[in-house]
Subunit: 226 residues, 2 copies
Amino acid sequence: MRVAGILLVEDDPSVRTALELALTRQGHSVTSYATGEEALDHIRARRPEIAILDVMLPGIDGVEVCRRVRKLDQLPVILLTARGDDLDVVVGLEAGADDYVVKPVEPRVLDARIRAVLRRAESAASDRITFGDLVIDRGALKVTLSGKEIHLTPTELRLLLELVRHPGQVLNRRYLLRVVWDHTHIADSRLVDACVQRIRAKIEPKPAEPVFIHTVRGFGYRFSPP
Amino acid sequence: MRVAGILLVEDDPSVRTALELALTRQGHSVTSYATGEEALDHIRARRPEIAILDVMLPGIDGVEVCRRVRKLDQLPVILLTARGDDLDVVVGLEAGADDYVVKPVEPRVLDARIRAVLRRAESAASDRITFGDLVIDRGALKVTLSGKEIHLTPTELRLLLELVRHPGQVLNRRYLLRVVWDHTHIADSRLVDACVQRIRAKIEPKPAEPVFIHTVRGFGYRFSPP
DNA sequence: GCGCCATGTCACAGTTCGGTGACACAACCC
DNA sequence: GGGTTGTGTCACCGAACTGTGACATGGCGC
């Protein structure tokens, strides 16, 4: 399930709690505030993936937050309002909001709209593969485990990518030496083992009991998600 | 005023005419059809900027058109429906629609939503991109950092723009040599490194700890906003 | 249980890679 | 021509990476 870092700004505590709960249930990670000032600070400091802003806020209102955010960067924004006045919608969208949702809103609908906006924002984004806590971004060449970035060396990354390209299949050492190391002749070498070991040390919670890269004695290694 | 090539698909002739008139008044250029089949043909042949699809259509319905369009390309889609059922909204957005509007809709609102969707779709292609303190104006070919204009040489600018065109993606040296320098044969060269180094000296607050252009050892460089 | 063999583990040293500054040369503008 | 700017190349250095071999461990057949 996708997990997004959502910033929610809503001054009514009961509505805020309800939305936060609903969004969390949908699998999102939510941080919420009651004022626009706090929201702007959070955006600057924490770079959420998307902001959901109530229009009516004490102090800086949602539309104004949206305007200022737009000057900063590309952060997707959904405006939220109790009013359904057409003019509000127009003003909100002109301020740069990506969507405008009228309360009360079904959590499923809000979730779908969040996903639509994120999908659009990420349309240029890279191809990621997710295996439980392990996320491999082939475009950015980044590997993250439970959100934390893992540094892999070039060879380790090439080997991991090769294993991941064939999930569930056993790849033998000769094959891996050929495609990852470009060694066509060297038959016996502990190279692959050592490299697998290094990868395990980085991505396996308990390297002694690997859940991602499994040893198939006598044959080679197999990548299979837990 | 912006003029967009809009594809409108609506089977009810009176609604179709009314919408077409309203959108034309807003300054859009509109082509309309009554069926999904015609719409798909038009999309393939004419490449409109955005499609507005009624959900209830004879034959292939709007959601299905949307699904098929999504397989083709990134054409923005707004679904239009008389029904306001939450499930429809979810299904429509999951099918890849960028927005979902319930009829009857105020022309001004529809216009604002069209603009919002187009803005989002084009943000990647827009003239000016902002990454925190760094602003890159592709139209004026100017780069500013915290408001101060940075002078980049033509080659440096081409390289930076190429990196920025693929934010978050790792681009290897061979690719960069090909598209920025038009070198198809030269395999080994420190050209790219040297140029990156020069850009860093100009845009990175601390060139030794770059926040914009990151080195990915063994692979290449990645532009990603701080 | 025993021994064998495949694999895990680790430290180290040679190698590779990228950052950096210097420099040559070409293009361009006065 | 003389100065200025832009661009490609080179050499050097430190840091990061990688292959290797020695040894430990553990599974498996007997």
